[in-house]
Symmetry: D3
Subunit: 242 residues, 6 copies
Amino acid sequence: MRPSGRAPDEMRAITITPNFTRHAEGSVLIAFGDTKVLVTASIEEKVPPFLRGKGEGWVTAEYGMLPRATHTRGAREAAKGKQSGRTQEIQRLIGRSLRAVTDLKLLGERQIVLDCDVIQADGGTRTAAISGAWVALRLAVDKLMASGKLTTDPILHKVAAVSCGMYQGQAVLDLDYPEDSNAEADANFVLLDDGKIAEAQATAEGACYDEESLLRLLRLARIGCTQIFAAQEAAVSGATGR
Amino acid sequence: MRPSGRAPDEMRAITITPNFTRHAEGSVLIAFGDTKVLVTASIEEKVPPFLRGKGEGWVTAEYGMLPRATHTRGAREAAKGKQSGRTQEIQRLIGRSLRAVTDLKLLGERQIVLDCDVIQADGGTRTAAISGAWVALRLAVDKLMASGKLTTDPILHKVAAVSCGMYQGQAVLDLDYPEDSNAEADANFVLLDDGKIAEAQATAEGACYDEESLLRLLRLARIGCTQIFAAQEAAVSGATGR
Amino acid sequence: MRPSGRAPDEMRAITITPNFTRHAEGSVLIAFGDTKVLVTASIEEKVPPFLRGKGEGWVTAEYGMLPRATHTRGAREAAKGKQSGRTQEIQRLIGRSLRAVTDLKLLGERQIVLDCDVIQADGGTRTAAISGAWVALRLAVDKLMASGKLTTDPILHKVAAVSCGMYQGQAVLDLDYPEDSNAEADANFVLLDDGKIAEAQATAEGACYDEESLLRLLRLARIGCTQIFAAQEAAVSGATGR
Amino acid sequence: MRPSGRAPDEMRAITITPNFTRHAEGSVLIAFGDTKVLVTASIEEKVPPFLRGKGEGWVTAEYGMLPRATHTRGAREAAKGKQSGRTQEIQRLIGRSLRAVTDLKLLGERQIVLDCDVIQADGGTRTAAISGAWVALRLAVDKLMASGKLTTDPILHKVAAVSCGMYQGQAVLDLDYPEDSNAEADANFVLLDDGKIAEAQATAEGACYDEESLLRLLRLARIGCTQIFAAQEAAVSGATGR
Amino acid sequence: MRPSGRAPDEMRAITITPNFTRHAEGSVLIAFGDTKVLVTASIEEKVPPFLRGKGEGWVTAEYGMLPRATHTRGAREAAKGKQSGRTQEIQRLIGRSLRAVTDLKLLGERQIVLDCDVIQADGGTRTAAISGAWVALRLAVDKLMASGKLTTDPILHKVAAVSCGMYQGQAVLDLDYPEDSNAEADANFVLLDDGKIAEAQATAEGACYDEESLLRLLRLARIGCTQIFAAQEAAVSGATGR
Amino acid sequence: MRPSGRAPDEMRAITITPNFTRHAEGSVLIAFGDTKVLVTASIEEKVPPFLRGKGEGWVTAEYGMLPRATHTRGAREAAKGKQSGRTQEIQRLIGRSLRAVTDLKLLGERQIVLDCDVIQADGGTRTAAISGAWVALRLAVDKLMASGKLTTDPILHKVAAVSCGMYQGQAVLDLDYPEDSNAEADANFVLLDDGKIAEAQATAEGACYDEESLLRLLRLARIGCTQIFAAQEAAVSGATGR
């Protein structure tokens, strides 16, 4: 029995509010249940040093958690003077995931920065961030295309992510905080809308797992991502009237 | 003529949404027009080292701006590894302003941290933060009193803040970004609901100003704060049913 | 009764020693009683990145306090690895104050850095720093003019600063440390020699204040600054034989 | 055809030199071909703050790469003043992997720190580090048991790790640098000697992959880890005469 | 011929002004010609962690250079966020030199911090700092003895330091900046008033030197330190009336 | 009697293993008894900013100690976020010592970085580092000459270093850790193969020393360096077949 009463393969409610803020080229508030992440996409007409002059673009991400997004207040990373290893691990994952569906040559020599800031946390912040970042990226790229700066769409696929885990011996989808903090194993899958895998990470927390469990978790992730793809589609259609 | 078409003594719409997030003891989203600040109040049952064992509490604040709260993306302070002078100046001002209306002895040996994070910026983020922080503090203290941890209310007054400035030779209230970035002088007033002043800061940006202008700006601030006090009252009543 | 026995509107002795060190283009030791600040002005034939190629100059300041300038030793900021919020707030104020009297276009594409280092502290270090910085800036600009690098004087006015405060219910001028640490309200005014105000900052420390008090403090500041302008004039005349 | 001429399921030569340095409680130089990592295990009779007084121990890891372990010199992290996101990600993985086979309650209130320093890099440094760290940990725990500080062995299993990837469309085992830098997908598996999985991480670098590929990579990892377990066994036997 | 016209064994004028600032337990402005260093001695009734509870005291030093102490402005270390290697090397040397003449057991469980801040630099700042620090330490210890906190004098000897170098093939005493920046070899000697050596450091800058030169430099240092000991004696007598 | 049973003028065994790692242009593992330092020389075809465009090269060094090179584990400098004063002092000394034997004009506008990482420490790590760095530099320069990038050898001399000290009243050569931590005085000499001195540093640790002792320590250093020069020669010959 899950603490929330959900079925093992049941996602929390997915809500995506496009254009949540007004300055960014793309902006979205995504919620997986009580987990709420604000993602903005900023287009910069320059690339990092290692790409200069190569005619290629870059997509990258930064991640942050507001100090009181969590049950007890966490220290502000800006005040501590450094980003934690966890933060860096997550923002590297988000960036890789979005680059996996972007043709950087088609993007041209510009950079899109995805800022993912957790307003409220209840498990699964990194997967909500990836799923929301795709929408923000989509909205920003739509602006580049509408303005004529791009003529060919550099976004090749949808990408979404969801967490799964072994909780009290059972494989369950979309862990909330009470599950996440007690799971025996904890996995994050980043999937494409053609069924391919961009990233799979499965970590034993309390008990190591077997191949069969890994596959079961992956199958749950496919169920969850199908729903996220639909929510992404609806959000983009609503935002742009496409 | 103001860019927004407002009258010189006209505030932007003030919106205060209490309980915007669920984990913090007090939480509020405050908007002055397009400026939106999320403020949470966190109660910690400990005090900073310099107060330990003195039987007194502390109220402090931290301030941050999401990277794309602004027209162009600003670098994330957590990634740069330090808070800017501007950030520190603002968070010190917020903390002082809230301490000005709190009896720290009555609060007892505990600390309340006010995290003010700017979701969207259009001028006046520090004054919106102070005005919203009072509501978050009020909600948090109400919880302490409801739980019996406090029996006497340590909050002595309402406090609110608003910016004013000399724009094209005229004193105007509640500067938005187009005004703020072109004002000849720029002032922030932190006022109490009994008419007293907690803080006055008036800075020449392009042209030094005279005593008469300072007084005119202060009078505008009184008009603005009166409206903010009403909005604070309504938000607290709505949130708590008082 | 003030601890020092001074009248409410009585400044401490003002001493300005120009050319206190030999390498800087401008250099001065300024004392307000026991508060002693060494200010140097350094001319650099380059400007910060945001001004490059705009044909305009910049005036900026840095502030520091020697570890044992105070009653008890404070940690060295260079050893701690960062400047405190207080330090940054002060150096931003000093820079703004001097820019308020400088025509940056006339200065040309060069920067003048004012280093203000407190040798001994007894209250009012920031106001002594601003008042001394004007003399150091004046001496440095005089060298630019003597050498023919400048033909029109970019310094438009004198600028001086002084602190005032409400101490035991009375408005007093030029707070020393015993007053400063016990004042109910504490204000710093930065004034021009034509009576205009460059910056007013008045902060409640123990009790909020009213409009009448604010005006009374401003009037005291005018008295103090008049004496500082005279001391600045004498110091510059003595240094340059003008 | 692999650049090294190896068969797809062929590991590089595994060499484990126990007791490579003399001060650490456990020490090993592990080589996977030209990748060489020095691992030391240090026993500290204290635990991190979050575990104090809980009667439990901790196993953690730190990772570093000598500046010229690589083809071109990388900046020294100590000189840059911070560890990269990659470094932190790797050391967190190493720590988790070793904790997955350690009963922290049996270890008692002490910490074992595994320092993994890459002397020479040719792909697979993190997997060599994990595999070597197990031997260093084993040697250190053997000392605790020999001295009577521990009576029950807290190490529950062997753990080893190996990288695999899709290289030119083919699943290959134990990527060296030329393969690693050109792989379409890159996976690291951390396996136990009972066949369970402690961690699986599979990342698309150039092309997303399907479920079948993920399984094929896992099967290769099983082949590789079997050989590593044997080398670990031999190294420990040689070192201790068990 | 030396740029200053001095004879090879001729010191610059030594001036020591005791009690230059008022808050520190010991304070001195020392000048070797145009090199001016302010040294304060602060007594702290606590010791660093490694000495706690051992009944022993500690003497340590910090060194800084005001940004415009030099011909061209140097970046402020507090603003850069770290002390340079040169700064750390110098402050370690000053601390060691003063500990060489202090009986730390007699000092008791307290620390004396010597802050050496260079107001104006013209070569030899570290040797002036050491020589001045002895006077500041002497004055602070005198206060401890006068107050009865110490009954036995923990200062065993005078210590002084001077730089020497090979300049245009000739051994010269007390290098000023024009000599220092062109010397073939550069030495600093820290000597006791009984003729013993606390520290000798001789560095080839342009040309390596032989044993005979090393001895010649040491002999010059003895000449210089004899004069510094006399100036220290006079300063202490003048300050304390001993 | 020395703890190791060595005669006062007896070096520990010197072992130099050239080409210890494969990527660096020069690489060596040097051991003085149980002290083992890995040194790599990296050629970079660029120079630090202060040398750009001057047609001159640069030789510099960085030094690190693996956390468990020592008896008890030391904190990793990369994790602490800064290099200690000791580390910076040592790496500055190594750089100076190697520059003392290099004609930087002949080297041309390129930089050679010597990374000295202590694998195992037993006293004398800095002197082993200098002695090994010469071999690494020699091997790297040999590659520049073999490739025709250099036609005239910029290395003018061999340079070696050794520590000496007063231990229980006796001058002894090449201190190991038990001696180093109990010596009354501790000296490091950097000598050239023509007998000249590049650097002499002699520090009183427990008792100040006299001129005669300084000379005796220098004479021991000459004995030690003669043996190091021979080992350097043999290592280079062995490595290159010269």
